[in-house]
Amino acid sequence: MSGLPETEAAREWLETMTLIRHFEERAGEMYARAKIGGFLHLSIGEEATIVGSTRALRETDYLVSTYRSHGYALARGTPPERVMAELFGRVDGCCGGHGGSMHMFDIERRFMGGYGIVGGNLPIATGIGLASDYTGTDDVTLCTFGDGASNQGTFGEALNLAALWRLPVVFVVINNQFGMGTSLARHSAVTDLQRKGESLGIPGTRCDGMDVTATHAVIAAAVSQVREDRRPVLVEAVTYRFRGHSMADPEEYRTKEEVAHWRERDPIPAFGALLEGKGILDAQAREQIDRAAIARIDAAVEFAEASPFPAAESLYEDVYVLDQHARGAYH
């Protein structure tokens, strides 16, 4: 098995994937209990893609994700307490309750946001890449987006500009087989998504997004290449979400058999078994990782419950930065 990390890193990857899984499952429960409002897009099934890609980044690199954003925040190190509190709409949420499920953000960890508009994040990631290039740092920006977003105008526009200006952006298309409820073959003329940047001279690669080591190996190579060459690349991570597009999804567009087939490839037990087989972790240690994740999510829910809702007086906070050179009424 190539790409298997050192013992401590391997354990941390499994821990983070497990944490994301339990976080998402609990979030689903909390949604059913009306603790969470709006839409809730879970990334259950996509944990290897999330951890494999984010672990290819340095702390100083930037990460931009989509509206399926909880897992990316957690993988980047945002405390689950803050993410859960955001879902609960509380003041201690990572965005103070202004963003919700689709709009996680953590400036300290250079997690530059979840974005609610499909494809809207690609130009923003390109702009962050421009700032890195402009200021002469060797930071890389990793931008994830779904297979559905590869049909948006911003996909062609942003990739063209990034290639033209030689910006350090790794574009990762998370091919989870569906743009909401429309399957890849029904929404994209080219289903070999890694090739969609070819007309712009952007090389593409693909990784098995259900395999954390394979994902990490491919994306780490892409990140190094981009850091070195200062040119964008496109990586297709092939994965599957086990749950619906959002909690409001009767899943009439796919069969139970198809879901069951992909569930057999569940990335978390697969990676756990691999580590056990290699003698890196024993069964007891795997069990311990699972229990620790559950305990942490218990604490996150407790924290979110205890955190107050934002005060009514805070409604207008952070709409504008008030400036001494501006007078008059902002609202």
Binding site: Y62, G93, C94, C95, G96, G97, H98, G99, H103, F105, D106, I107, M112, G113, Y115, G116, I117, G120, L122, P123, I124, A125, T126, G127, I128, G129, L130, A131, S132, Y134, T135, G153, T154, E157, A158, N160, L161, L164, W165, E317, D318, V319, Y320, V321, D323, H325, A326, R327, G328, A329, Y330, H331
Partner: protein
């Protein structure tokens, strides 16, 4: 003070801010080699180089989005869109990203981005290049909206826009690029946002004119004085957000009559908004209904005689003021 054209004043503001702050950079279609569709950026590529003055592909939504991302991570980008109608291609990034990022991410980041664009009729460019859409941007919390009418304001407001931490929609007027006016040479002189310009003092009627209409209103005021003995006070708000409502209300308190003039469409427009605010705050000061003069409620036609009657001119403002003063019978309202 120097006599500069409006476009030269904008150019001076960009040059000074590029010199002052290394983080300032320009992006837009044909702003470099071509010098800008209206020559606002002429000479800047040669002076500051490709790194800081960037020609972009024709990708409005992405250009603005790139500006947002760059602004979030430390730069102070100034994006030029060739006309205000093209900004509609970028509405996703302007509204969902630029305007809302600070709020939706709980104040962790700001978006110090300026998006410049010209608006306005008069050049027979028809229904996709001539509109006045400031109301669409004014509608959105999170954006600031500047509408300079004079060369001095063009320079001073643009410098303030670049220095402000918020996303600013900076709306220039196509018909004003060639006008001349006194402009301060001092690179430290700026014009504050939310500070209206009293273009002419008068005690009989208040006329608020937006963008080019501030100048048309000034000419109308001269006619009112010379031909009708009416002294109008003309107010140019200079920025629609933040809005210097206090100056407008103080004037209405003095004159007891108000005419609001805009070039854009009447429904849900800037004039409708100003009229509502004035009615809410100064109802008891008013001796006549607030009058609105606006562009016609049609897509801008190409043919010269039609285009000419599709946006306000001096006589309509004079007429509205006289109606407000009771010197003329009221005609039907805006339509």
């Amino acid at each position: 003070m120097a006599q500069l054209r409006y476009r030269e004043a904008l150019n001076a503001a960009l040059r000074e801010e590029l010199k002052r702050d290394e983080r300032v950079m320009l992006m837009g279609e044909d702003i470099g080699v071509f010098g800008g569709a209206f020559k606002v950026t002429a000479g800047l590529l040669g002076e500051f180089g490709e790194r800081r003055v960037r020609d972009t592909p024709i990708s409005e939504n992405t250009i603005v989005g790139v500006g947002v991302g760059a602004a979030m991570s430390g730069l102070r980008p100034v994006v030029e869109l060739m006309t205000i109608n093209f900004a509609l291609l970028a509405f996703d990034q302007i509204v969902n990203s630029a305007a809302h990022i600070r709020y939706m991410f709980g104040g962790q980041v700001s978006v110090p981005l300026v998006i410049r664009m010209p608006q306005g009729a008069g050049h027979q460019l028809g229904p996709t290049h001539s509109h006045c859409l400031e109301a669409m941007f004014l509608h959105v919390p999170g954006l600031l909206v500047a509408v300079p009418a004079t060369p001095a304001d063009a320079k001073g407001l643009l410098k303030t826009a670049i220095r402000d931490e918020n996303p600013v929609i900076f709306i220039e007027h196509e018909s004003l690029y060639g006008i001349r006016g006194e402009v301060p040479d001092d690179d430290q002189v700026t014009v504050d946002f939310g500070h209206a310009r009293i273009a002419r003092e008068g005690a009989d009627v208040t006329i608020v004119g937006v963008s080019r209409m501030a100048l048309t209103a000034e000419r109308a005021a001269e006619t009112l004085a010379q031909e009708h003995g009416v002294e109008a006070e003309v107010i140019d708000p200079r920025t629609l957000r933040p809005l210097d409502l206090d100056t407008i209300l103080a004037s209405v308190k003095k004159t007891n009559r108000c005419v609001v003039v805009e070039e854009g469409w009447p429904h849900g427009g800037v004039g409708a908004n100003l009229a509502a605010l004035i009615a809410e705050h100064a109802f008891d000061d008013l001796d006549a209904p607030i009058a609105r003069v606006s562009g016609a409620d049609v897509p801008m036609p190409y043919s010269k005689p039609l285009e000419d009657i599709a946006f306000p001119h001096e006589p309509q403002i004079v007429e509205a003021a006289l109606v407000s003063l009771g010197a003329r019978p009221a005609a039907s309202g805006a339509r």
